[in-house]
Amino acid sequence: MDTLTFLLSGTLLAATPLLIAALGELVVEKAGVLNLSIEGMMALGAAVGFIVVSNTESYWLAIFIGGLVASALSVVFAAVVLLTLGNQVATGIAVGILGLGLSALIGQPYESMTVAPMARLPIPLLSELPIVGRGLFDHVAVVYLAPLLAVAVWFMLMKTKLGLIVRAVGESPESAHAIGYNVNAIRFAAILFGGFMAGVAGAFISVASTTLWANGLIAGRGWIVVALVVFATWRSGRIVIGAYLFGAATIGELLVQSFGLAIPSQLLTSVPFIATIIAIVLLSMDGRSIRLNAPVSLGRVYHVTQ
């Protein structure tokens, strides 16, 4: 494995779970709900996915069930914020802690165990390309699916009637309600989707990229996802850029350390965060565009009788 192959393949592996979870969170936030429990849902998805692979050796099933279980956890969040009108920030954090705790509990018998890595699916011809072939086109299928998912989410949000309804609910739930849409039902569906994607992202980490389970495996990636969505000003394209940029910077930081340059490692460790923030802030300098894309009623409690 040469340097460039590692840089490319490492970037894709690091960015894929961030991108998947961020796309889910994007849809949730576009519907006007701020779900801060991503970290916990990813951890639960990772634990469940790992358990499924350990027992069945079926990776796709593991990723799917990881998503489903995280989705089930997001039902708790949805019930509190939609039915009992709980504060979204507090509920999200609480449900996130619940998810982390549940993942530690169910993952306990599997602590520090490993599984065989998911089979890679090299793309014919492309993976034979000189220089970049092996880095970009010799991965597990999920890595290729992530950018396609981004296109699908963009298309759904911006080009379909369903997307228009989701955005309407996020902009002005009162108006959406007035023209006959069930705001809570739509938000509920969006939250379930977000939970599913977070679970898939977590399961990807435990069964496809890291191939081990340990309590605390997600190590803060859920919070990076939340930050990505906000810094990308709720635009799918920028989420893609942000996720891959962050992935490239985390890998680049490690590579620079391995070159043995006399740069303090703490500074390098902070580079991915700084670089991603600067890049996305530069992209989003235009205040008008932020106002245009930010869901107006994000985080606000909505009740039909208001």
């Binding site: 990229s209 190590a219 350390q257």
Partner: protein, 357 residues
């Protein structure tokens, strides 16, 4: 009336027997910072607990609380343990120190053992492994087997304990193979297995064919080494099951003798808080799982160094040692004294990169 008296007598009798039983057995509480898995720091501590049970049988009763984060949770749990009647408490993480000391001060009858601390009192002892001795042997082996002349290390934080290991590896590896080049990646995180794996892959992409997994509790780096076909030396437990072809050696910690000795002293009422620094000669650090790929000659060299380290004939930090700026740190014929080993904040000659001040 008669019946009532009998009942009272029975109750009193039961209480008395229960009291007597309690006085006989010593309750020992263990607090671990991580869950007890198949491998890792908590597992090695728990092996020590099992040894206590095996040695003292009915005389002791052990309780465990695992996965306790440093901070208010740990304080609450250790206080509860003592309130519930623990006579002996093992605190398995550096960060439990201040609350542990306070608790020990309030309960002079309870004995405490604390991992990696630097403060002792009459009833509060500390234990620290001399891992650098084990890693000296690992470094020697790495220098002997590397074909690319490149060794890569994945370290958690550049704290003195880990810096001492990095230096010991470098000194030994360069002794075995003067051409060897050594690369370090600091994760600046105690726990991030995906990042540890990325770091390991980065080192492999730069030509490293022997990796060192320094203070990674999970087999993350071992996993990558096995997949990439390179060797790895890991910390904590024997991880050869996770990398049957990859593990060159495992530098493990063994607290069984020490725990049994301290608990024995406490049972006799002679516990005295001391500062235990255990290395190869105490059996507290053991290098296990030597790879089958090592030739008989290589293994003999390693075993010879091991015997000399144990007898004291060889010291991991025997002079002359220069730091990376070329300044002499240890004179020829001298050994680096303990306080400087456990406070190491400089890199030896041959290492690139810098340390935080």
């Amino acid at each position: 009336m008669h019946f009532k008296t009998l009942t009272w007598l029975a109750v009193a009798g039961t209480l008395f027997t229960a009291g007597a039983a309690q006085a006989e057995e010593m309750t020992i509480g263990f607090i671990y910072p991580a869950p007890v898995a198949d491998v890792g720091w908590a597992k090695q501590l728990d092996l020590g607990r099992e040894a206590i049970e095996a040695s003292f049988g009915d005389k002791v009763k052990t309780t465990v609380v695992e996965n306790v984060p440093e901070g208010p949770d740990a304080t609450r749990i250790m206080n509860q343990m003592v309130t519930d009647g623990a006579d002996f408490v093992m605190l398995g993480s550096f960060g439990y120190m201040n609350d542990g000391l306070r608790l020990a001060g309030r309960n002079p009858d309870v004995s405490f053992l604390h991992a990696s601390g630097f403060k002792q009192t009459d009833n509060f002892g500390t234990f620290t492994p001399r891992n650098y001795e084990g890693f000296y042997l690992g470094g020697l082996a790495a220098g002997l087997v590397t074909k690319t002349n490149t060794i890569g290390m994945v370290g958690a934080f550049a704290i003195p304990e880990v810096v001492a290991e990095v230096n010991a590896i470098t000194l030994a590896a360069r002794k075995a193979n003067p051409d060897v080049e050594i690369k370090i990646i600091w994760l600046n995180s105690w726990f991030d297995p995906p990042k540890a794996q990325d770091a390991a892959r980065a080192l492999v992409s730069q030509g490293a064919d022997v990796l060192f997994s320094l203070h990674q509790d999970t087999p993350s780096v071992v996993n990558v080494a096995e997949a990439e076909g390179v060797y790895v030396v890991n910390t904590g437990s024997d991880m050869s099951a996770y990398g049957p072809n990859a593990v060159l050696a495992s530098v493990t910690m063994d607290w069984t003798d020490y725990f049994v000795r301290e608990v024995g002293a406490a049972l006799e009422g002679n516990f005295n808080g001391s500062d235990f620094r255990g290395g190869l000669s105490d059996g507290a650090v053991k290098v296990k799982a030597w790879s089958k790929d090592l030739t008989a000659d290589q293994l003999a060299q390693i075993k010879d160094a091991e015997a000399k380290l144990m007898s004291g004939e060889l010291h991991a930090f025997a002079g002359p040692i220069k730091d990376q700026k070329g300044q002499e740190r240890v004179a020829a014929g001298a050994n680096l004294p303990d306080p400087e080993i456990f406070g190491m904040n400089w890199l030896v000659e041959g290492l690139e990169g810098s340390l935080p001040n």
